[in-house]
């Protein structure tokens, strides 16, 4: 094993893997907590929707688009002062989570908005006709009906985060991507590169598989 992969130090790989899991998992939690309400807001204030508000929709939509168009590597650096204010450091796993959240939230919010739009308008109308308030329509009908789509959105977001997290090395964030760049690319240790990439592939596959299973479980169509 050590002859085949002379440069691979497994404990380091282990630490890096755990860091990636922490970065993806930690930021995903906040992204869902922030992105879900934001997506609902985008949906409700959109054209011909329950709380149509063209001005509010325009502003929120614009901010979301701006955040989505900044390349993550730039966001990572630009956000350093903000990150320091929020988590007290711009380094390590903690320092990467705020920029990941800033990049992932607008992305996920759009996915939530799209899956809410796919809910049958007739179902919304029927719920309205039962005398449901907007709050009840959202919590009782819209979100349960859109749940499979929202879970699929979480899966896509998580996978995007895996690739974003690979850039964490720029601010000393660690993780598998960082390892691949520092050892595999900068020190020409191809074996480290291969191992990290294989691990990333496995990680992404696992996320996709879990996501697909959950979507299937919650789909009643």
């Amino acid at each position: 094993m050590s002859e085949l992969l002379p440069n691979v130090r497994w404990w380091e790989i282990g630490v890096a893997s755990w860091d990636t899991v922490l970065m993806v998992g930690g930021s995903l939690l906040f992204i869902v907590l922030l992105g879900l309400p934001l997506g609902v807001l985008l949906f409700l204030t959109g054209k011909r929707q329950l709380l149509e508000q063209p001005a509010l929709y325009g502003v929120v939509s614009f901010v979301v688009n701006v955040l989505r168009s900044v390349p993550f590597i730039i966001l990572l650096i630009v956000m350093i002062p903000v990150t320091v204010i929020i988590v007290g450091t711009s380094l390590d796993v903690a320092g990467v989570i705020p920029p990941l959240v800033a990049a992932g939230t607008p992305f996920f919010a759009r996915l939530v908005e799209t899956s809410l739009r796919e809910v049958d308008r007739g179902v919304i109308e029927a719920t309205q006709a039962m005398g449901a308030s907007t709050r009840q329509i959202v919590l009782g009908a819209l979100l349960p009906e859109a749940l499979p789509g929202i879970i699929a959105g979480i899966t896509v977001t998580a996978i995007t985060l895996v690739s974003y997290a690979a850039m964490a090395g720029v601010v000393g964030g660690g993780g598998l991507g960082d390892l691949a760049i520092r050892y595999g690319y900068q020190r020409f240790q191809t074996d480290v590169m291969i191992i990290t990439v294989v691990l990333l592939v496995v990680f992404v596959q696992l996320l996709q598989m879990i996501g697909d299973r959950l979507v299937l479980y919650f789909s009643r169509r």
Partner: protein, 336 residues
């Protein structure tokens, strides 16, 4: 129970205003089944949605149960909607909830029912619509007719005074349509609930409606007792609905009768008269002979009726005509 007064409804489409309803005035009496028939785009579904204010009129007033509800908002509006059940062409059940949860949903929204009360009411409703054994299934596992039955159970959950049916049988096959219409009719009788039924099928009107309004281009062109409207259509739109159902092309029929001798008349009998031996009596009394060219004996809601096209030959045809009119038969001369 429901009253529309001078209703106007216009939509803004690309900066132009399109009129959906014009000068609509209508009264629906408590406990009756009222039909609104029209081709698609006639405004009938919009009119129906004014009752629970899913749509609001541009002008005019809507009254429900003696109250002017036109400007209702907030809790008043939500409470009004809870008094009105609604069923839809595409059922609009929540696919993420079981049959049981779908029926319980409006009661949960109302927030005034305890868990035990909800459970009992759901059982009772599912038994009433004949789906007691399907409670734990999801809507995707049901047939169209079963879905509509769940829709009906759901609409009745909060004991509404009014049931709105928006093309409720249009997505169903003829047999299922019949059983769903029967269910609606039974519920109307049992619970005394007022039903407003929007459809483009004359058959649905004929089976269940006491009265009917015919809509065309956003206006009510004809309204009245179902039997009157059905047997003696006046407006061309009504005509097209009645004859579309009988699959009869009137011009074609006139050609068919061209070689038939004698006077051709169309008799309309209604109620008990339908079953009296009118033609036999007529032949004996006036010496006319008759042949039946076409005919139908059926019923509208619970009123039996017969419509016969005859040719009368020999004897005293004029006397026969007078005789018919004396015995409450409506006579229309098709050819002298």
């Amino acid at each position: 129970m429901i009253e529309f007064q001078d209703i106007e409804k216009t939509y803004e489409v690309d900066g132009r205003s399109v009129s959906a309803l014009r000068e609509v005035g209508l009264r629906v009496e408590p406990g009756e089944v009222f039909g609104i028939i029209g081709h698609s785009g006639a405004g009938k579904s919009t009119l129906l949605r004014l009752i629970n204010l899913i749509e609001r009129p541009t002008a005019g007033r809507v009254r429900v149960d003696g109250r002017d509800v036109t400007d209702y908002t907030g809790w008043q509006l939500l409470n009004l909607r809870r008094e009105i059940g609604m069923i839809f062409q595409h059922f609009n059940l929540l696919s993420s909830k079981t049959v049981r949860a779908n029926v319980a949903f409006p009661m949960k929204l109302a927030g005034t029912y305890g868990a035990q009360a909800i459970r009992e009411r759901v059982e009772e409703l599912l038994a009433r619509v004949g789906l007691a054994d399907q409670a734990n299934k999801y809507p995707s596992q049901l047939s169209g007719g079963q879905k509509q039955r769940v829709g009906i159970a759901r609409a009745l959950a909060c004991k509404p005074k009014i049931l709105l049916c928006d093309e409720a049988t249009s997505a169903l096959d003829p047999q299922t349509t019949q059983s769903v219409l029967e269910l609606i009719s039974d519920i109307n009788l049992e619970l005394g609930i007022t039903v407003v039924l929007v459809t483009h099928e004359m058959d649905a009107i004929r089976r269940v409606c006491d009265r009917v309004a015919v809509m065309d281009g956003g206006e009510i062109v004809e309204s009245g007792d179902s039997a009157d409207v059905f047997l003696h259509p006046k407006h061309p739109t009504t005509h097209s609905f009645v004859f579309e159902r009988e699959h009869v092309d009137e011009d074609e029929r006139r050609e068919d009768f061209a070689h038939v001798p004698g006077r051709i008349v169309k008799l309309t009998l209604r109620g008990e008269a339908t079953y009296r031996p009118i033609l036999g009596d007529l032949a004996q009394q006036t010496g006319v002979d008759y042949s039946i060219l076409s005919g139908r004996v059926d019923h509208i809601k619970r009123t039996p009726y017969g419509q016969l096209t005859l040719s009368l030959v020999g004897g005293d045809v004029d006397q026969a005509m007078r005789e018919l009119e004396r015995s409450d038969v409506h006579v229309e001369v098709i050819r002298q």
